[in-house]
């Protein structure tokens, strides 16, 4: 084995992949949430639709989005490999376990949380991303030209209370996933220091509450506005 | 047989240096042709196994624990002495030598002790190089403290876990040699017998504690690094598994057992809380630097304390007897271990003991806390206080600790010459398993020093002198001597399993312990010792007719393991008592009530007893034969110890 394959077949090498892909996805979330804030703009969706076109056509963004796909898939595959190794490491479980006294629930259930978040991502991509790429989306014309009216697709989708609920619940679970994952990624990278770790933990907690909350506010806002 | 200690000629300071030159060497290319067996992986065993493997010998290392790192050396708290004189306070090799000889009450060999003091400085260098994290000063250099009443600061330490750090250092060196393929490790394997061929030790027979398999291992030399036998008292600060079996089986194969009666009783242990007690926990001696030892002045007050009608803090200063300060104004609470222990026994015998069993005295930090503040005391002793609270449920910041002496270390052991060789050629004993360096009493922080000195710096030289004269050929384990030994062990196991009596092994062990503690403990009398011999013989008979050992021989079987060990303790116990009985004097850890000064101090008889008493096994249930190795003092003048 070369040193590269050896590294990435070691537990720590794989943990490194988890941390790096995780952190990249955190960065992605920042971009995603900031762009989507345009949904709140009271302009009938023009800014949002222009933004959507930009995101699907700009070559630099394309590269970033490919990196995002790779990160998601990588994060999932590596986590499956690690989980199966972890499972094998304890073939017999304890009859009595008080794990709650030594660790948080979400830290112990990152796999479960991640799986649900992944299912959500698939649903989410199907709802909008696939529509944007291949769906029959109505067109809308502004001064700057003709655009796919993704805004209308979003509005239509979130008039469905069930879908809104699914999104909100998923965002809560994503929050739990991030609540552990954010600081954990830094720990895995070896970035644990008396001076900085408290700040990392604080930012991680704030991030994992604020960002999912912002995401969740979108379907709620749209749903409420469709009621009017 | 005349015991030849093989002490080299020449002046004391030059003996070891010259002797190192005079000993034969084994050519580097030939070292790999020799096999050495090391039994026990504590400080002495691990350091010896690692050092010999580094030299090129093939080593097999055995321990009964699941890993070499568990050996009981790990529990040593205080520190390790070395004559580095880093503190510029007047220490020197000679002073460490002198203190050790004097502390041992002039019952050890000058040449051995001087060598120990000489190599002590190398031990510290070696351990630091291995990455042992000793305590340091802010300038980055090593810190020292004064320990056990020494007047210089020569003790190196790693918080209260010096033994752990030193053992892990030796264990790491051992592990490196395992990785190099020079040491083969046999954990969970107990030595059952030494095999001698043509009078020389040529191997051992072991029992695999998991499978029960009886196996033979052949070698050119065998090193016993198997620790002390304090567990003969059942209750001691030794680990539960510590035993005399390896040393005792060697004794039965011809190795003389020296000074078995020298037992060190440590004054600061947590008292026994009831019949369920399985072992005793030591509290570091350093506590006596700040704690004051006392009991109530009157029996009546003590009685009230025992009934919990009053609390310690209710007793006024004028009703307290700070007996060590009163009797020993200059040393006070810092008198040597044996003196502190004996005095605790006296005040308890007077009915002034302070716990329910009447066997405890107070160690009080009230005044130290008032003087230095709780923070300072906590910084110094926090972990010990926590441990005390964990075990007793009492908070020593608020109420005085209760302490009582407990068996801690055995100075006696297999007789060895200057080369650490027993009376069986090719069979060596290192560390606490031998008798050599501490005389009748060991100083604090000297056990770690001796274990590592033997393993790192003595045996690598002396074993070559023996092996250089040995043929390379190995004896096959199909040799008749091995087969014979295997058969005897299997028979013994069968015997133990077939008795199927009514009493458990622990029951016998506890009863033996009580006899030993009562008659051969802190204070001994001829009358009591006589009585004890009969009692032990009776108990031994009863053991072999009424013990109940469950299970089979071919599985992990704790009760069988214990049965072997207790059977050996039952024989050793009698020898200890006989040794104590014959030694008509008091010295160090051996105190005969008939021999004391008017002030109640140990009274030595240098004229008649300045010798090592080495016992030869003459057969089962036959009285052992005493051999004497006279102790010659050319450099120190024998004086009466005084701590007034």
């Amino acid at each position: 084995m070369s040193w590269v394959t050896k590294t990435f077949s070691s537990t720590l090498g794989r943990k490194l992949l988890m941390a790096l892909t995780g952190l990249f996805l955190i960065l992605f979330l920042i971009g995603h949430v900031s762009g989507n804030m345009l949904l709140f703009k009271d302009d009938g969706g023009q800014a949002f639709n222009e933004y959507a076109k930009f995101m699907t056509t700009n070559p630099a963004v394309k590269i970033l989005s490919y990196l995002t796909y790779i990160s998601i898939i990588g994060h999932v595959i590596v986590s499956i490999i690690l989980s199966s190794k972890n499972k094998k490491a304890r073939p017999v479980n304890y009859a009595d376990s008080k794990a709650a006294t030594n660790s948080t629930w979400n830290s112990r259930n990152m796999g479960v949380l991640g799986t649900i978040v992944f299912i959500f991502i698939v649903v989410h991509l199907q709802n909008f991303w696939a529509q944007m790429h291949w769906g029959a989306i109505p067109m809308v014309t502004y001064e700057s030209g003709e655009f796919k009216d993704l805004y209308a697709v979003v509005n239509l989708a979130f008039s469905n209370i069930g879908l809104v609920a699914l999104y909100v619940v998923s965002m809560i679970l994503l929050g739990f996933h991030l609540y552990h994952g954010f600081a954990s990624a830094f720990q895995t990278l070896g970035l644990n220091h008396k001076k900085y770790t408290p700040a990392i933990k604080f930012i991680g907690s704030a991030f994992s509450i604020i960002v999912p909350a912002m995401f969740a506010s979108m379907p709620i806002f749209i749903y409420l506005s469709t009621l009017k | 047989m005349i015991l030849d200690s093989k002490i080299p000629a020449g002046s004391l300071a030059e003996k070891w240096t010259k002797h190192k030159f005079n000993m034969k060497l084994v050519n580097p290319a030939n070292k790999r042709k020799y096999e050495v067996i090391v039994v026990g992986t504590g400080l002495a065993g691990a350091s010896a196994a690692a050092s010999l493997a580094e030299l090129g010998y093939n080593v097999k290392a055995f321990c009964f624990q699941d890993s070499p790192r568990r050996a009981h050396s790990i529990a040593a708290q205080g520190g390790i002495n070395a004559a580095k004189n880093y503190q510029n306070d007047g220490d020197s090799v000679y002073r460490l030598f002198y203190d050790t000889i004097k502390g041992g009450d002039y019952r050890s060999r000058e040449a051995n002790v001087h060598r120990l003091a000489e190599v002590s400085v190398n031990i510290i260098d070696q351990c630091v190089a291995q990455g042992v994290p000793f305590a340091r000063e802010y300038g980055g250099l090593l810190a020292n403290r004064s320990f056990g009443g020494a007047q210089v600061s020569r003790t190196f330490y790693a918080r209260g876990q010096t033994g752990q750090q030193l053992l892990l250092g030796a264990y790491s060196a051992l592990s490196r040699q395992v990785a190099n393929g020079k040491v083969k490790l046999y954990p969970r394997t107990e030595m059952m017998d030494v095999v001698t061929i043509d009078g020389k030790a040529r191997g051992i027979v072991t029992r695999n504690l998991i499978t029960g398999a009886i196996e033979s291992h052949s070698a050119h030399a065998v090193l016993l690094c198997t620790g002390g036998y304090g567990n003969v008292f059942f209750l001691s600060t030794n680990a539960m598994g510590s035993n005399v079996t390896a040393a005792w089986r060697a004794h039965k194969k011809g190795a003389y057992f020296a000074n078995p009666c020298y037992t060190q009783i440590h004054p600061t242990c947590i008292p026994v809380s009831g019949d369920h007690q399985s072992k005793l926990t030591l509290m570091s001696e350093s506590l006596r630097n700040d704690g004051r030892v006392w009991v109530p002045k009157t029996k009546e007050l003590a009685e009230k304390l025992r009934k919990k009608e009053i609390m310690p803090k209710d007793i006024k200063d004028e009703d307290r007897d700070y007996y060590l300060e009163r009797r020993y104004p200059s040393f006070g609470n810092l008198v040597p271990r044996d003196v502190a222990s004996r005095n605790a026994k006296y005040v308890c015998d007077e009915g002034r003991g302070v716990n329910e069993t009447g066997e405890a005295v107070f160690l009080d930090f009230r005044d130290a806390i008032i003087r230095d503040g709780e923070d300072t005391i906590s910084a110094k002793y926090g972990n010990l206080f926590d441990m005390y609270q964990q075990i007793t449920g009492e908070n020593p910041y608020q109420t005085p600790m209760k302490i009582y002496p407990a068996v801690h270390y055995t100075m006696g052991g297999l007789w060895v010459d200057y080369h650490l060789m027993t009376t069986v050629p090719g069979l060596y004993a290192l560390g606490e398993a031998n008798f050599s360096d501490h005389g009748a009493n060991r100083l604090g922080a000297s056990a770690l020093m001796q274990g590592l000195a033997d393993g790192y710096f003595v045996i690598p030289y002396t074993i070559g002198d023996y092996l250089a004269g040995m043929p390379y050929e190995k004896v096959g384990t199909d040799h008749e001597a091995f087969k014979q030994s295997e058969k005897e062990i299997k028979d013994k196991i069968q015997k133990l399993l077939s008795i199927n009596g009514k009493k458990t092994v622990d029951d016998f062990h506890k009863r033996l312990g009580k006899i030993m503690w009562e008659y051969c403990g802190m204070a001994r009398t001829a009358e009591g010792l006589q009585k004890a011999i009969g009692m032990i013989q009776e108990l031994r008979k009863e053991f072999w007719s009424d013990v109940k050992v469950l299970g089979t021989g071919d599985e992990l079987n704790l009760s069988l393991e214990k049965a072997h060990r207790v059977a050996d303790f039952l024989e050793l116990g009698e020898l200890m008592v006989r040794d104590a009985l014959h030694r008509n004097e008091s010295c160090g850890g051996h105190f005969r009530e008939e021999y004391q000064t008017e002030e109640g101090e140990a009274l030595r008889d240098d004229e008649n007893f300045a010798y090592v008493g080495a016992w030869k096994h003459m057969g089962d249930n036959v009285e052992e034969e005493l051999n004497k190795e006279p102790l010659v003092f050319e450099n120190v003048k024998l004086t009466q110890r005084s701590y007034k």
């Binding site: 537990t11 895995t188 | 009981h72 580095k84 351990c127 630091v128 750090q165 790491s172 029951d507």
Partner: protein, 249 residues
């Protein structure tokens, strides 16, 4: 007090094993947990039943041999070793569940006894400074800042009991391995071999079949010596810097 013990009994490594309930009476709160088991074993022996096998030796909290999973936690409810746990932590009428450490790398030998040889092999892979006896410099030749020495000491206090593995949901040995890597990486004596050491010890850890680290922190909380998670971070740094810069291709 009177207690019910639910104890894992397993004849040997190939036996399937199962729980057996025992009632035990008149237990004093001053007893240590292991002394309570001693009492049980004396009773069993008197009845002619095989005593419960468990590992223990020093009973002072330092040798690391005792290893019981008590009421859902390694070493029981207190942050200490099993041998230092006392019965005053329990109440009359309690049912106490006692299990062996559970990990593929710690196979059960009998009852509550497990084989922790994997820890020894991790140390053998590189948990040492390669110096031979003799010929080393004077101990005071290399000054080490007190803070560094103290931090190295904190890592070095690991007793190798395996509670970290027992506590970890993945049965990971990261805390154990990192404590040794950390100790030696911090000290100048250990720096020479730090890259080699990190690579080899981690490879061995993987080979033994321990799980990965999810940074739940359970190991450190349950560690009787309070070994810190910073050691795992340091080990990761050591490893990552080793793989990119070591000479091993």
């Amino acid at each position: 007090m009177n207690l019910t013990l639910k104890v894992w009994r397993q004849k040997n490594s190939s036996d399937k094993g199962g729980f057996v309930n025992y009632s035990i009476a008149d237990i004093s709160e001053d007893m240590s947990f292991l002394e309570m088991l001693d009492v049980l074993n004396e009773e069993l022996s008197e009845k002619g039943e095989d005593p419960v096998h468990f590992d223990h030796d020093c009973r002072e909290g330092i040798c690391g041999m005792c290893s019981l999973h008590i009421n859902g936690k390694p070493h029981g409810p207190q942050q200490t070793t099993t041998c230092q746990l006392h019965m005053r932590s329990f109440k009359d009428g309690d049912t106490i569940t006692i299990e062996p450490w559970r990990a593929a790398a710690f196979p059960v030998v009998k009852d509550l006894v497990v084989d922790r040889g994997s820890f020894d092999r991790i140390i053998q892979a590189g948990g040492y400074v390669s110096v031979n006896t003799g010929g080393v410099p004077d101990a005071n030749e290399i000054p080490i800042p007190k803070k560094i020495a103290d931090e190295a000491f904190d890592a070095a206090t690991c007793i190798g009991c395996g509670a970290c593995v027992a506590a970890c949901k993945n049965a990971s040995a990261m805390l154990f391995t990192s404590a040794k890597i950390s100790q030696l990486a911090m000290l100048p004596q250990g720096k020479v071999e730090r890259k080699e050491r990190a690579e080899k010890m981690i490879a061995q850890m993987d080979e033994e079949g321990f799980g990965a680290c999810t940074n739940t922190g359970a190991c450190s909380i349950e560690c009787p010596k309070g070994i810190s998670l910073t050691n795992i971070a340091r080990m990761n740094r050591e490893y990552f810097s080793a793989i990119v810069s070591s000479e091993n291709v």
